[in-house]
């Protein structure tokens, strides 16, 4: 890639998802992360019970993320051709796992009281 800068990446992502959807997703990610940090600061501790449920949801998030990528592309598990492909697959799965864990933890904290 020539001039692979931060602005180029933003421009490419805008084109992949459409400008509106991309920035909506960025805002959603920022809001969820901020809410997660908010409940951590508010509660001054991590609730291990909430964290357990968040951890249990991680495999679901991982599988969902991988299936989503395969769904929007003409490809499947049999197309894994080298180490980098495995790394990409695990990366996608990790993102899905961490994403859903943060989401589940935050939602529990926001919905239930701070007693958790």
């Amino acid at each position: 890639m020539k001039d692979l800068t931060f602005t180029t990446l933003i421009a490419v992502f805008e084109e992949i998802f459409g400008r509106g959807l991309f920035w909506a997703m960025v805002v959603a990610a920022v809001v969820i992360t901020a809410a997660y940090l908010y409940v951590l600061v508010r509660d001054r501790s991590m609730s291990m019970r909430k964290f357990l449920l968040a951890q249990l949801s991680m495999p679901l998030g991982a599988i969902a993320a991988v299936l989503f990528v395969q769904l929007i592309t003409n490809s499947g598990f049999s197309d894994i051709g080298g180490p980098i492909d495995l790394i990409v697959l695990l990366g996608v799965a990790s993102l899905g796992a961490v994403g859903i864990a943060v989401l589940v933890y935050t939602l529990q904290s926001l919905i239930r009281s701070r007693t958790g």
Partner: protein, 437 residues
């Protein structure tokens, strides 16, 4: 309740929030101030090159009169045609409106350039309008010389076992009609390429690999006999890639027919004649993929801008291979397919060429010398099956120039390279058109 050791303070939270905002506010390198000028810049062609360039010039020049001339109301995302011809994307995937990509503050003439007079610095359009220039960029693309294949006409595409994906979105879709029938019924499939310079020399290989893969997946590999008719003794212009393709072909049971250049067809009896070093040879086919000879448009060839001693049957523009500046008319540049440089007829080449032309053009207007050079970079996500590709990048010297050395192996069939082709490439292309990549 379990008490965790992790107990963040409000200060940490605020610190994180602040650093996030700082990252978001950072917006990349700062551009130089625009050059004030009253220069008249004319760009012939609003394809990948012309459009990307005009969107960059608009930010670099203040007060210039910029005119872009293109007869087509449709802009084509040509790297998508291979996917259309394999039934993976609809024809509409490659089409948009030319005007969707053009900036305000320029003049767009929706006509063809009919004449260029480099001595008086004047372009005339098919509408009879005369446009004078101080600087000219020729980026009209190339023409497909279908008439050079005797017995072939575009009406045949889609039936009679004939495909021709280069001819445009509609023909790429019709190519898939003929090709999909072949993947079900089998027989002899012949995949050709011309002996001239051509757009994306990887595309004939991609089509071969894709149709073989689709037949294979459908369980019909036993019914197909696939022949790849190469124009010379190699399968790809870069020797190391040619050798890799030879191995893949052997592995897949695809037979190379070296130095077989398609000359004529008899659609009724489904026979094709090839010119070979030993004279003409006739082959029967059930599916034939035709890619005709490719040449510079007549307006270029008649303008005296072409090389006099190279590619004389094709007429590419005589430019310096590093700067893309015309060797006899320094106020003229060529961009994209029409440029008379080895290799470089791909959208990826255009992406590398545009900043070079921009640099030298803006410098010339400012009265200085540009410094950017084009090294012949070309990239080809060489699809080897649905779901895998090899990300092949190379330069004038046939060196491999991987963008991600040690991470994405150029000669390996990888899923990530396919994802790039299917997901990221069109987005990158669109960003390039907007002048942002």
């Amino acid at each position: 309740m379990t008490q965790s050791a992790f107990a963040p303070s409000r200060r940490i939270f605020l610190g994180l929030a602040a650093s996030g905002m700082a990252a978001a506010a950072w917006s990349g390198p700062v551009r130089a101030a625009p050059v004030k000028t009253s220069a008249r810049v004319v760009i012939i062609g609003a394809g990948a090159g012309g459009t990307a360039l005009v969107n960059r010039l608009i930010d670099r020049l203040d007060g210039a009169s910029i005119t872009i001339i293109d007869p087509s109301e449709k802009h084509l995302y040509q790297p998508g045609l291979s996917l259309v011809a394999a039934g993976l994307k609809p024809a509409s995937y490659t089409e948009s409106r030319t005007t969707d990509w053009l900036p305000g503050g320029i003049t767009y003439i929706n006509k063809a350039a009919a004449g260029i007079d480099p001595e008086t610095r004047r372009v005339t359009t098919s509408g009879g309008q005369a446009v004078d220039y101080d600087f000219l960029v020729v980026a009209p693309g190339l023409v497909l010389d279908h008439d050079a294949i005797e017995g072939f006409s575009l009406d045949l595409v889609g039936s009679n076992g004939i495909g021709a994906l280069y001819a445009g979105p509609e023909y790429a879709a019709r190519t898939w009609q003929a090709a999909s029938k072949y993947t079900e019924e089998g027989g002899v499939g012949i995949f050709t390429r011309p002996a001239t310079e051509m757009k994306c020399a990887g595309a004939p290989l991609k089509h071969t690999f894709l149709i073989d893969d689709i037949a294979r997946t459908a369980g019909n590999a036993g019914k197909t006999e696939i022949i790849y008719a190469a124009n010379n003794q190699s399968l790809f212009g870069v020797p190391i890639v040619s050798e890799k393709v030879r191995m893949l072909f052997e592995n897949r049971g695809i037979t190379p027919a070296y130095s077989h250049v398609l000359k004529s067809i008899e659609p009724g009896s489904q026979r094709a004649t090839f010119a070979t070093p030993d004279g003409d040879t006739e082959l029967e086919y059930d599916y034939l993929h035709v890619i005709p000879p490719q040449r510079a448009p007549d307006v270029i060839r008649q303008s005296g801008l072409s090389w006099a001693d190279k590619w004389t049957d094709q007429g590419w523009v005589e430019v310096d291979r590093q700067t893309l500046r015309h060797l006899r008319y320094p106020e003229i540049f060529a961009l994209g397919d029409v440029a008379g440089v080895p290799k470089g007829k791909t959208a990826a080449s255009v992406k590398w060429q545009v900043p070079v032309v921009e640099d030298h053009l803006v410098a010339a207007i400012a009265g200085t010398e540009g410094t950017a050079t084009y090294n012949g970079y070309t990239s080809c996500p060489l699809i080897t099956r649905v779901g895998r590709a090899m990300l092949i990048e190379f330069d004038y010297q046939n060196n491999l120039t991987p963008s991600f050395p040690g991470i994405i192996a150029p000669m390996e069939e990888l899923w990530i390279s396919w994802l790039m082709k299917e997901v990221a490439l069109k987005a990158t292309y669109n960003a390039m058109l907007r002048g942002k990549a």
